[in-house]
Symmetry: C2
């Protein structure tokens, strides 16, 4: 490995001494401890990281989009330079295969470069100019201009299931840094080594582009101790989190109970309902089964967008069921991210199979061994599903529940679902048109609605909404993926009566950045 793992937190441009008993990563495939002991920082060290972030905010938030873009691109370049380290350490810490490591690294650097392009171009600030009318009657109209400004230092929690794309230099970090917010990252205990590899890359990039110390820190330690210290600190102005519902709810509660409450963007749980309309499932049953199986088992089912709930109209889909059964029964087992996640999946599937009215449609013949999960499909009648809220919950892993009933019953059930990241419909053109009610109901429960596709595979682009109504996220007004994510770390500010040379460049009459703006109500 190029990277020398030190096992200590990164406090601005220094390394912590650490404290207490160290922890080690565990190889989920073997249960073996991996080299390098990781130490939590002391509370003084956490305070130091926070102070550095507060100081860095003053300087960093004043940098131009071009300067921030240079930093983001340099981070991407530094990560590219350690991809072999990631590929070496990553599978050991996560059980995820090498191609996934490479793909996720590419997605992560792609995200960083996309945000770099966004802030370099500059129109994302939503600049609005209303020129003054000193002679307006009865009152003069003031010169008033607005744009988005960064909130302040942001705490980002690494996700177990995305050691790169939703971790140290993942989506929230990229969006926050792009917006002008310093980032304090809390590493995930499952993959501390990947965290350090990426963290060191970020620090090299910050130094190389002369960023203020404290624009980035990386902290080890527990969520309850170090994580909560970040969330409760008055300097921290927003929180990004991807993980369990209990973890997200704890952060929301802590943030709401601060003297100054702050926004928490927690992505928590989603079963991503898939509705199969009769003609589609009868004409394309095998193809849909193949697609569902691939989506369901991708990454051992450990995606926030995993399709965990399928509505199948009674009397349809025999070939679909047959094919799904065949694929599930012959599916291999897969290593899950860590022992806790694997156990939780086994507990959830065992609860489902013990629930009255729930039938096991298919279960892999592969023996389910330690740390490895096998896919499973259950089914239940829609009326039973409506009676039992536990059946609405997520079994994080390669499991799905097929809910059967009439199309009318299915449509009536959608409003009873919790908020979802995604919702999917398979239908022929004619039956989609005839079922606009279902499409509308799904839109009201989800952040992204998909026709004739599958929810996994989250495109990083301008139009992606990866965020839905509670409890899929804490705040459905926001996305964690795509360029729109920059907005979550901003607030609008107005400047009234300012002389030209004291205005931000984005708001000057001569538009030196050449960005798209709204001037006196017209986009120019």
């Amino acid at each position: 490995m190029t990277t020398d793992l030190q096992g200590t937190s990164i406090i601005g441009y220094t390394r912590s001494q650490g404290t207490g008993s160290p922890s080690q990563a565990t190889n989920p495939a073997s249960g073996e401890k991996l080299a390098t002991e990781f130490f939590a920082p002391t509370h003084d060290e956490v305070d130091r990281a926070i102070e550095l972030a507060a100081a860095a905010f003053l300087e960093y938030s004043a940098l131009s989009g071009g300067e921030r873009a240079e930093f983001l691109r340099k981070i991407a370049e530094e990560i590219d330079g350690v991809v072999e380290d990631i590929v070496e350490r990553g599978p050991l810490e996560t059980g995820l295969p090498e191609p996934r490591m490479r793909g996720e690294t590419a997605r992560t650097t792609g995200q960083l470069r996309l945000f770099a392009d966004l802030v370099e171009e500059g129109s994302w600030v939503d600049a609005r100019i209303e020129r003054g009318q000193p002679d307006r009657e009865p009152l003069p109209k003031p010169d008033l201009r607005s744009m988005r400004r960064p909130l302040g230092p942001v705490a980002v929690f690494c996700a177990s299931n995305f050691p790169l794309a939703f971790s140290v230099a993942g989506g929230d970090t990229a969006a926050a840094l792009a917006a002008g917010c310093p980032v304090l990252v809390k590493a995930h205990h499952s993959h501390p080594g990947i965290a350090e590899i990426v963290g060191q890359a970020v620090v090299r990039a910050a130094k190389a582009t002369n960023m203020p110390e404290g624009v980035f820190s990386l902290l080890y330690g527990s969520g309850r101790d170090i994580g909560m210290a970040l969330v409760k600190d008055p300097v921290v102005q927003a929180v990004g989190f991807t993980g369990s519902r209990s973890g997200g709810l704890a952060l929301m509660e802590a943030a709401a109970n601060r003297p100054q409450p702050i926004p928490v963007y927690a992505e928590m749980s989603s079963v991503n309902p898939v509705v199969l309309l009769p003609e589609a499932v009868d004409s394309r049953g095998e193809e849909i089964a193949e697609g569902l199986f691939a989506s369901l088992t991708l990454g051992a089912g450990q995606f926030c967008t995993n399709p965990g709930l399928v509505f199948l109209p009674e009397g349809h889909g025999d070939a679909f069921i047959e094919k799904l059964k065949e694929r599930i029964e012959t599916a291999p087992s897969a290593v899950m991210l860590n022992a806790g996640i694997c156990q939780a999946f086994k507990d959830a599937t065992s609860d489902f199979s013990d629930t009255p009215g729930v039938e096991t449609v298919a279960h892999s013949f592969t023996k389910q061994v330690d740390h490895r999960a096998v896919p499973v499909v259950f089914s239940v009648k829609v009326r039973r599903f409506l009676e039992d809220a536990d059946l609405h919950g997520e079994m994080f892993g390669p499991g799905t529940l097929i809910v059967r009933g009439s199309l009318e019953e299915i449509e009536a059930t959608i409003p009873e679902l919790e908020g979802q990241l995604t919702a999917t419909v398979h239908g022929t053109e004619a039956e989609l048109a005839a079922n606009r009610g279902i499409l509308g109901a799904l839109e009201r429960r989800a952040g992204r609605v998909i026709v004739n596709g599958f929810p996994t595979g989250v495109e990083v682009c301008h139009s992606m909404v990866h965020g839905g109504p509670f409890p899929s996220t804490s705040d459905g007004r926001s996305t964690s993926v795509g360029t729109m994510a920059i907005e979550r770390f901003c607030r609008p500010v107005s400047w009234q009566g300012f002389p030209q040379d004291l205005l931000p460049a984005e708001l000057r009459d001569d538009n030196p950045l050449g960005i798209s703006r709204m001037v006196d109500g017209k986009r120019v």
Copy 2:
């Protein structure tokens, strides 16, 4: 009066029977009860209003921007038709003079028409289109399109200090209706008659434009009972509030503790600091004093943007102080909105004058009688100010505190202030340029920064941010005034792989609405 005041809640297109002991409005100038008894609705009636709103959302959220615009314009027209009723009843309920009633009515109808223009034009939805690339390697790119969609039914609380512009058909109602959200309004006990006049106008407009019943309801009764019933109901998806900090905090707590937490947009308290730089205050001292006096006493100081804190550099501003003193001492008393607000102002000023280190600079010679307040100016040294958090609080009314110290001390104090709606600086061009640190520090504490003006007078336009960091508002990511306010009642949604004719018109390839959109990363 054209309007027949019935004193009962408006539940969709019917009137409530009401319950309990009625309340009457009080003329704050005389203490006399005004005609018409107002009854709170029963809880069944509240539930009925909420059910109607839930049902209306399905239909109303699917209307085109043009149809919603027609409704908003009709509301404005109906309000125009009852302006004489408002002018007759309004001053009796609020103590505010007739010209203010006419001005605020015009602002309210202007707001409604501005939102009508916005949604009729349609670009506000932030439509984004990324066309699919089925042949992309290694994975196909899906067709993905996003835009803003309404959150759901919204609860709006009327404000004591803006019986029209922040009440029944005020900013939050206009923004929510424009976004596609039905509105449940909780009337303010101080001006129930104006509420009913406007509420009846809204209902006439809804019927005339064939809106679904339940798009609007108006409920009397107490905040703790009827207001909380709205905030806690699962149907309600957002809350708009302008009022006291304690009231706003109670709503935030209730909303955060729901099984599904929802956003609360509470505008609570702000002292709107004004920094006077030495040259400006020495060269334009009298003019600044006149402006400050006018801003401070406008509407008896009962504006959220009232300048309640003035930083004056030691050794400067003698003429400013002299002139301010002269104007304050000869100022008449003014009727405050209600007895409670008047008493709270008297208590706050008496606390200030009893605080060690605080001097009374000027006090009106006019006797302060019942329900009437007179302006007052205090001063304190900056070091004393820093020691006593109570001095940072709002005295809602025509009172201000001058804080004196060196320019360095003033700059160092700004980060210690709470979040503010506005922050103002008076300076010559040269000294503004020399004090960018002060401008930057104020920007970080406020939603709107003003140069050489005064904070009162909130322009309703595209670039207004009337919302600042906590506690000036509960959520500084949003504005309650101007067209950007529509965003607070929306969330983004993505459509993936949809056939053209099932997409919202805003997202179709042929752009039938002719709106500004982002297509494959470019604004077109």
